[in-house]
């Protein structure tokens, strides 16, 4: 048995008459960064919310390591970075981290560690609402890393960040994946897809591709994910 796989089977979410997620079936393994790539409005956030257990499914199943998502046990092991930073603007960076550390069962040493990781140690005592957008995103990311979760679900965590920091964070995601964690990162920026080993390409609530980047480029006979994406869309439309 594979340890700790994230398995989706016919995952369906509808809102009124709109089908947001259209029977998605996929497997995400630990050990490699999986990129959830697609234009905005394609359903990426809804899929991520479903994975962390806050989105009700209209059909299908989502499980991690055989456990249904959102279960009490799994909530100890999931770190979630929302698209717009979900943090308290009227608290300092440290106060934010300390609160979420108590919930995650993380120690003070770990708070210091994650602050170093996202390079915010010098902003410790600053009120979050006075930070820039990128800094807020880093606070939000740091919180998700508290408690060393086995599953990291990150919704566009690097948007608007400085290129050096972005580079560092992708390296960090790679290291976390290598340590055996499930790492799912969404992006609407195609060049970020190049950094992922596995890809879930999404468009209009459907998955167009769920395999490695290499095999995508190979099967479409292209050199960039962007070209491959376009080709895949055209082929899907022909059918």
């Amino acid at each position: 048995m594979n340890q700790q796989e994230l398995v989706g089977k016919d995952v369906r979410v509808t809102k009124g008459r709109d089908v947001i997620l259209n029977d998605l079936t996929f497997t995400i393994q630990p050990g490699k960064i999986t990129g959830l790539i697609g234009p905005s409005g394609s359903g990426k956030t809804t899929l991520m919310r479903a994975i962390v257990g806050v989105q009700e499914l209209s059909g299908g199943k989502l499980a991690i390591d055989g456990q249904s998502v959102g279960s009490k046990k799994l909530r100890h092991h999931v770190g979630y970075v929302t698209q717009s930073p979900a943090i308290y603007g009227d608290l300092t960076v440290w106060q934010n981290l300390r609160y979420f550390a108590t919930i995650a069962g993380a120690t003070k040493a770990q708070i210091t560690e994650v602050m170093d990781t996202v390079r915010l140690s010098d902003k410790k005592k600053q009120l979050v609402e006075s930070l820039s957008g990128g800094q807020k995103a880093r606070v939000s990311l740091a919180i998700a890393l508290l408690g060393d979760p086995n599953v990291l679900i990150m919704d566009e965590p690097t948007v608007g960040l400085d290129p050096i920091l972005r580079q560092e964070l992708w390296q960090l995601f790679g290291e976390l994946a290598e340590r055996g964690k499930i790492v799912l990162v969404s992006s609407h920026v195609m060049d970020e897809a190049e950094r992922c080993e596995k890809l879930l390409l999404m468009r209009e609530g459907k998955l167009l591709w769920t395999d490695t980047k290499e095999s995508l480029l190979e099967s479409t006979n292209t050199t960039t994910v962007e070209d491959a994406f376009i080709k895949t869309i055209h082929e899907a439309e022909k059918k």
Binding site: V54, E56, R75, I87, I103
Partner: protein, 253 residues
């Protein structure tokens, strides 16, 4: 052993939620000042209004001691919880091991503390500055005022679950609170109202607050009815807390 560890976790998370909320409030001096000062100012206004008709003041003031703190705590709590919902931190919390009751109780402790200070200030002002003529024991008046402010807090927590925006949350005040204020027995004795309205009034918590506060002014002893009023208010408060936790949803559609 494991169970105890689990309980300790929830206790810890509840208190750290409470201290987090208080810390947020401490960065917002104006809100804190408004919580404490507004009910006192309103009572002062009332006292001024009835300068020449002190008997009328004695009739209205105790009941309004039940209404002002209740209303203010109701609005503040419902808006603050809603802000958490809109800002996305609530959703983040719902993905963590934090229990729904931990969340509600954490808020209840933090705002409860505000409510207690507020009710103490307002009742002290009424009793010892405006020298309200109270036949019964002062401690009972204060006790009911405290329970009442806590009830406003708990109801605010509960109803915020039904609001999707700040505009809706603010509307809950006139929708839920004003009717209770109107038919709670302050303007017209319950038994003089149409039968159906009287029955409805008996299902609303503010009726019991008003009854207890008016009774302590007129009775030298704390009667059984007054204790009944107090326990009913407390029961409504606990009910609102439990319903608040139950109606909190981890998953949305």
């Amino acid at each position: 052993m494991r169970r105890r560890k689990n309980n300790m976790y929830h206790l810890k998370v509840t208190f750290s939620t409470a201290s987090r909320v208080l810390r947020q409030l401490s960065h917002d001096h104006r809100t804190v000042a408004l919580i404490f000062i507004v009910p006192c100012l309103l009572l002062a206004l009332l006292r001024w209004m009835f300068t020449d008709t002190i008997g009328t003041f004695n009739h209205f003031a105790p009941a309004l001691l039940g209404v002002f703190p209740f209303v203010i705590m109701f609005i503040i709590t419902s808006i603050t919880t809603l802000r958490e919902r809109v800002g996305g931190t609530m959703e983040r919390l719902m993905t963590t091991p934090l229990g729904k009751l931990d969340f509600i109780l954490g808020y209840m402790i933090a705002f409860g503390l505000m409510a207690v200070i507020q009710a103490l200030l307002a009742s002290t002002l009424l009793l010892y500055v405006f020298n309200l003529d109270v036949a019964g024991p002062h401690w009972f008046l204060i006790l009911v005022a405290l329970a009442d402010a806590l009830l406003g807090t708990a109801l605010g927590l509960f109803v915020s679950a039904f609001a999707k925006s700040e505009f809706q949350a603010v509307q809950f005040m006139p929708a839920f609170v004003l009717p209770q204020f109107l038919i709670g027995g302050l303007f017209m004795p319950l038994d003089k109202m149409p039968g159906l309205l009287e029955t409805i009034a008996y299902f609303l918590p503010l009726t019991y607050v008003i009854d207890a506060l008016t009774a302590v002014v007129g009775n030298t002893d704390v009667t059984g009815d007054m204790w009944r009023d107090f326990w009913v208010v407390l029961a409504f408060m606990i009910g609102a807390i439990l319903l608040g936790a139950l109606t909190l949803r981890r998953k949305t559609k």
